[in-house]
């Protein structure tokens, strides 16, 4: 008995060591961004490994707001992200429900084609849509980028929501119908609240993908005043002279809201991410 207890102790100790090592690996690159953002201007290319540098300063953060268009970019990003997330969640919540509960012509084909869109390389939609937006005069416009982002996010969102609705037993709706609810009421009052974890995850993914997207935005938003945060951020990092201080500060301000949101909502990840209703 004593022997198995020592064995268990060794196993648990090793488990903690492994977890702590991986936690350090996870945190370290993020701590680097913080370090760079706090470095004073004359020590940006320091070789020190400290996390909080000597003479830490918030000058970079101030410069970001005073000397660059950061606020403007943030406004652009907020506007675009909010619209895309809202559209994505509403459409996915309704369409996913339709796909989950009802049979109709073309349902299987539509589900399959949504899965197939995941296999499109980025350029497959980007190139034709880019030419289409050029022809429609929507380059450098909010509408153009919103269309692009909705297009890429929607299929996965619908799939994800459909998968979650599949796990909700339809006997609940039948009970609601007997109690006199209309079809819309059963959906809105009974099913939707139960689908909250999936709605949260769908919203989170839409939010994250458009808040941080770079390669599509770089083609469509070419005017500095229309830039989103990622393009502005990338502009600090160029081959000739990287503005590490500004880059670090901007990165922190872009990352912190996403990370906080993600970590707060991460308890829903396990239940909300269903990968298309495949039950374990």
């Amino acid at each position: 008995m004593n022997k198995s207890r020592t064995k268990k102790l060794i196993r648990v100790t090793f488990s903690y060591i492994i977890l702590i090592i991986f936690c350090i690996i996870s945190i370290y690159p993020v701590s680097q961004v913080l370090t760079v953002s706090l470095r004073p201007a004359d020590r940006l290319l320091s070789t020190s490994l400290e996390i909080i540098p000597d003479n830490a300063t918030i000058a970079n953060y101030i410069n970001l707001f005073v000397k660059t268009d950061f606020l403007r970019w943030m406004w652009n990003s907020l506007l675009i992200t909010a619209s895309v997330t809202l559209t994505g969640v509403i459409l996915a919540a309704t369409a996913g429900y339709g796909f989950s509960r009802y049979k109709f012509v073309g349902k299987k084909a539509a589900m399959q084609s949504m899965l197939v869109t995941q296999m499109f390389p980025a350029t497959m939609l980007l190139l034709p849509m880019y030419i289409m937006l050029v022809n429609l005069g929507l380059i450098n416009s909010y509408l153009g980028i919103m269309i692009m982002y909705s297009a890429t996010a929607l299929p996965f969102c619908v799939w994800q929501m459909k998968g979650f609705y599949d796990t909700i037993p339809s006997s609940l709706e039948e009970a609601g119908r007997i109690d006199g609810c209309s079809q819309f009421q059963t959906f809105y009052l009974i099913v939707l609240p139960l689908a909250a974890p999936a709605l949260v995850i769908t919203a989170l993914f839409s939010f994250m993908s458009s808040w941080t997207e770079y390669v599509v935005a770089a083609q469509i938003l070419q005017d500095t005043a229309m830039w989103t945060l990622p393009i502005g951020l990338k502009s600090f990092e160029s081959n000739m002279s990287t503005e590490w201080g500004l880059y670090g500060a901007a990165s922190m301000l872009v990352t912190v809201p996403v990370v906080v949101l993600f970590l707060v909502l991460s308890k829903y990840l396990v239940s909300g991410l269903t990968l298309g209703s495949v039950k374990g």
Partner: protein
């Protein structure tokens, strides 16, 4: 109004908006992409293009570019396999460690371990690029501290490719970990108790209970992960700064992005996009057939 008609109207309002959008922004561009791939469209012929048949497809396979299609294809396969291997192995391993009942503070560990997933990919890529810097980057600083020679991470082809893989492994393992955790939690506990009574070893339980039971959840995740990794433009593009040194650090998707948007070879880019798409389509169909897991989806 009769019942079935009302139901039909309800379904119509639920599904139609999403379908119209998908038709407009997925189906239409797809068809348009096919047309572009058969045309001679480029910067000089953006309005007066004409259909030239399969010339662009032939070019993809035969044009002696530096590097050529086959080299990049093999690199893409290596990129995908190496990344997925580490994502799944690290992810499942951490999930197993974290799922032991003796571990305290599970919530805190899980929260910290999903951090790489939470950080925007753009920032991940640029930050790691900074960390791989030869003189100032912390990777070489750390290598120096333990007495290893500094590595020219970003200036030589192989090292730059390895740097991109390290970055992508870092950001990808939490996804697999979360999926595996979800799957592990759904395994009924009495299975292990029964195995314990039979005196099964730890390894035996892993092989006969844990792995088979998380497989139905892991396979779709791996399929999606493969597709996403194969098509992950962000990391390779940003870590290698558009394929540096001298276009030797490309996977297919970054190569086609460069052809289309830096060299304005629209026809060629569209043809290469189609080829990438078909490679993935064939892979997914074969993989899904073999593993038979998504049958329940429809």
């Amino acid at each position: 109004m009769n019942q079935t008609l009302r139901q039909k109207i309800f379904i119509f309002f639920l599904v139609t908006p999403a379908l119209i959008i998908l038709l407009g922004v997925v189906v239409y561009p797809f068809v348009y992409n096919v047309i572009i791939s058969l045309s001679n469209m480029n910067l000089r012929h953006i309005k007066d293009w004409e259909i030239v048949g399969f010339r662009n497809y032939v070019k993809v396979f035969t044009e002696p570019s530096q590097p050529d299609f086959y080299v990049i294809f093999i690199k893409t396969v290596i990129w995908t396999i190496v990344n997925l291997f580490f994502h799944v192995v690290i992810g499942v391993f951490l999930a197993l460690v974290l799922n032991q009942k003796e571990i305290r503070g599970k919530g805190i560990f899980r929260t910290i371990l999903v951090l790489p997933w939470a950080v925007p990919q753009l920032i991940v890529a640029l930050t790691w690029r900074g960390m791989f810097n030869y003189e100032y980057g912390s990777i070489n600083q750390i290598l120096g501290k333990v007495g290893l020679p500094a590595v020219e991470w970003l200036r030589s082809p192989t090292e730059a490719f390895v740097a991109a893989i390290i970055t992508n492994v870092w950001l990808g393992f939490p996804f697999m970990m979360v999926i595996a955790l979800g799957a592990l939690q759904s395994i009924p506990h009495d299975l292990y108790e029964a195995a314990d009574i039979d005196g099964a070893s730890w390894y035996h339980k892993l092989r006969t209970i844990t792995l088979p039971l998380i497989k139905p959840v892991m396979v779709p995740a791996i399929t999606l992960g493969t597709i996403w990794t194969f098509n992950n433009l962000n990391i390779i593009w940003l870590v290698s700064n558009a394929g540096e040194p001298s276009d030797s650090t490309h996977i297919l998707v970054s190569f086609v992005y460069k052809a289309a948007f830096n060299f304005y070879r629209y026809g060629y880019g569209a043809a290469l996009s189609m080829i990438i798409f078909f490679i993935l389509l064939i892979f997914s169909v074969v993989f899904m057939r073999k593993t038979k897991v998504t049958e329940a989806v429809y």
